[in-house]
C-alpha cells in the first residue's frame, strides 16, 4: 500500500465513524457506516477498501466498547469487494446507476449479515434492525424470516443512499483532485 492509500484508508475509516454523527442529527433511520469503505473502493481499489472496512469495524468496537459485533467485519470485506467491482464498471458516474448499484450492494450485504445475525446472535443486534425483527416476529413471522426481512429492508435503503452519496462526492471532486486517482480516471 502506498502512503496515499494509507492516508485515504485513514480518511475512509474516519468518514465511516463520523458520518453517523450527521445521521443522528438528522434523525434518519439509516446508519451510513460504510460510506468511507465505498469511497475508498471507488478511489483506490479493493485492498485499501478492505483495510478501511476492517479497521472501521475494530475502531468502532473500541470506541463503543461493544466488541460482540466484530464478526460483522466479514460484511465490510464483501462491501469493499462489491464496491470496487461496480466502481470499475463505472457505476458511480451517474446517480441512478450508483443508486441501482447500492440496491445490489444492499442485497449482497444483507445476504451476508442476516446469517451472522441469525446464527451467532439469534437476530438480536443493533437496535433499529432488531426492533423491526421484533415487530415482524410479534406479527407471527418465523424468526428466520423476521431477521432476514429486517436485514434486507434496512440494508437496501442504507446502501442505496450510501452509494448515491459517494456518487455525489465523486462528481463534486475538483478536476485537479480527481486526476490524482487513477482508478477514478478509468
Amino acid at each position: 500500500m502506498t502512503l496515499r492509500d494509507l492516508v485515504l484508508v485513514r480518511l475512509g475509516v474516519a468518514i465511516n465513524l463520523v458520518i453517523g454523527q450527521i445521521v443522528v442529527a438528522l434523525l434518519l433511520p439509516i446508519y451510513l457506516d460504510s460510506v468511507g469503505t465505498i469511497l475508498v473502493a471507488a478511489l483506490v481499489g479493493p485492498r485499501a477498501a478492505i483495510t478501511a472496512g476492517l479497521v472501521s469495524q475494530v475502531l468502532s468496537a473500541v470506541i463503543s466498547g461493544n466488541f460482540s459485533w466484530l464478526p460483522f467485519a466479514v460484511v465490510q470485506i464483501v462491501i469493499a469487494l462489491y464496491a470496487s467491482v461496480v466502481a470499475r464498471l463505472g457505476a458511480f458516474r451517474r446517480l441512478w446507476t450508483a443508486v441501482a448499484a447500492g440496491i445490489g450492494l444492499g442485497l449482497v450485504a444483507a445476504s451476508c449479515s442476516a446469517p451472522i445475525s441469525y446464527f451467532l446472535f439469534g437476530g438480536v443486534t443493533a437496535g433499529g434492525v432488531t426492533v423491526v425483527t421484533t415487530v415482524l416476529r410479534a406479527l407471527g413471522a418465523p424468526l428466520g424470516v423476521a431477521v432476514a426481512s429486517a436485514s434486507y429492508a434496512t440494508d437496501l435503503l442504507d446502501k442505496a443512499i450510501a452509494c448515491g452519496l459517494v456518487c455525489v462526492i465523486l462528481r463534486g471532486l475538483p478536476r485537479t483532485l480527481a486526476a490524482r486517482f487513477p482508478v477514478l480516471a478509468r
Binding site: L3, R10, I19, Q21, L26, V55, S68, G122
Partner: protein
C-alpha cells in the same frame, strides 16, 4: 468508562499480545458455547479476568450498560414471543426454551464485552504500538490504528461546525424523511470533500517522517515477553480449537 486505566495489576504488566489473546479467546469461545451453563462459566471467567486486572467494578458496570438493551430485546423476542412449553413468571407467561436461548445469547454478548473492556482498560496503547513495532509489524498498520483515533475528534469537531454553519444559512434539520435526506448532502459533502483536499498535505507530512522508507523500525521501550506468556497464548489457541472440535463433535452426535 471505556479506555485505558493506569494500574500495576498482572494484566497491566503482561505483554499486550497476552491480554488481547485472552479477550480474543473469550470472543471465539463464546460462539462455541451453546449451553447456558457453559456460557455463564465464560461470563464468570471474563469477570475473573477483570478482577485480575483490577477493573472489575468499572468493566462490569460498563458491560451491563452496553448489554442491557440487548437483554431487553432478547427478553421480548425469545422469552415473551418464544415457542412452547411456557412457564408462569408472576403475571407473565414465558417461553421455557426461549429463556434458555436468551441466556445463551445474552451471556455471549456480556462475556465478549466484559473481556474486551478489560483488555482495553489494561492495555496501554503506547505499549501495544511498541510491542507491534518490536515484532516488525509494518509502520502502516500501527499508523492506521494509532493515528485514526487521533483524527476522529478533529473530524467530529469539523462535522459539528459544518452543522452549525449550515443551520445559520437556513438549513432545516426537521421535516419529512425526504427533507432530512436532502439535508444530508449539504452536511456530509463539505466534510468529506474538505478532508479529501487535505490528503496530499498528509502524504507529504508522512513522507518527510520517513514512512515510505519501509525499513524495520526499532522499538524504544518494547514490553517484555516471557516463555510462560507465550505458552499461555498457545494454550488459549488450543483451548479454542478444542471448544470448536467439541461443538462440532456433539452436533454430529
Amino acid at each position: 468508562m471505556i479506555g485505558y486505566v493506569t494500574g500495576r495489576s498482572p494484566l497491566h504488566r503482561a505483554h499486550p499480545y497476552t491480554t488481547l489473546a485472552l479477550a480474543g479467546a473469550v470472543l471465539l469461545a463464546a460462539f462455541a458455547m451453546t449451553e447456558p451453563r457453559t456460557v455463564w462459566l465464560l461470563v464468570l471467567a471474563a469477570a475473573a479476568l477483570a478482577a485480575v486486572g483490577g477493573v472489575l467494578r468499572s468493566s462490569v458496570r460498563t458491560a451491563l450498560l452496553l448489554s442491557l438493551p440487548i437483554w431487553a430485546l432478547l427478553f421480548v423476542l425469545y422469552a415473551l414471543l418464544g415457542a412452547d412449553p411456557r412457564v408462569a413468571f408472576g403475571p407473565l407467561s414465558l417461553s421455557s426454551p426461549g429463556i434458555a436461548r436468551a441466556l445463551v445469547l445474552g451471556g455471549r454478548v456480556t462475556a465478549i464485552v466484559l473481556s474486551f473492556l478489560t483488555a482495553l482498560a489494561t492495555t496501554s496503547p503506547h505499549r501495544l504500538v511498541e510491542a507491534m513495532t518490536a515484532r516488525g509489524v509494518p509502520f502502516g498498520r500501527t499508523f492506521l490504528l494509532a493515528s485514526t483515533l487521533t483524527i476522529l475528534p478533529r473530524m467530529r469537531e469539523r462535522a459539528a461546525q459544518i452543522l452549525e454553519a449550515q443551520q445559520c444559512r437556513g438549513l432545516r434539520l426537521g421535516g419529512s424523511v425526504l427533507a432530512r435526506l436532502r439535508a444530508l448532502g449539504p452536511l456530509a459533502l463539505p466534510l468529506i470533500l474538505g478532508a479529501l483536499a487535505e490528503v496530499d498535505e498528509q502524504v507529504l507530512a508522512l513522507d518527510v517522517r520517513g514512512a515510505a522508507a519501509g525499513a524495520r523500525r526499532t522499538a524504544v521501550d518494547p514490553p517484555p515477553d516471557s516463555q510462560i506468556q507465550r505458552a499461555l497464548r498457545w494454550s488459549l489457541l488450543l483451548l479454542v480449537t478444542a471448544a470448536y472440535a467439541w461443538k462440532f463433535w456433539s452436533m454430529r452426535g
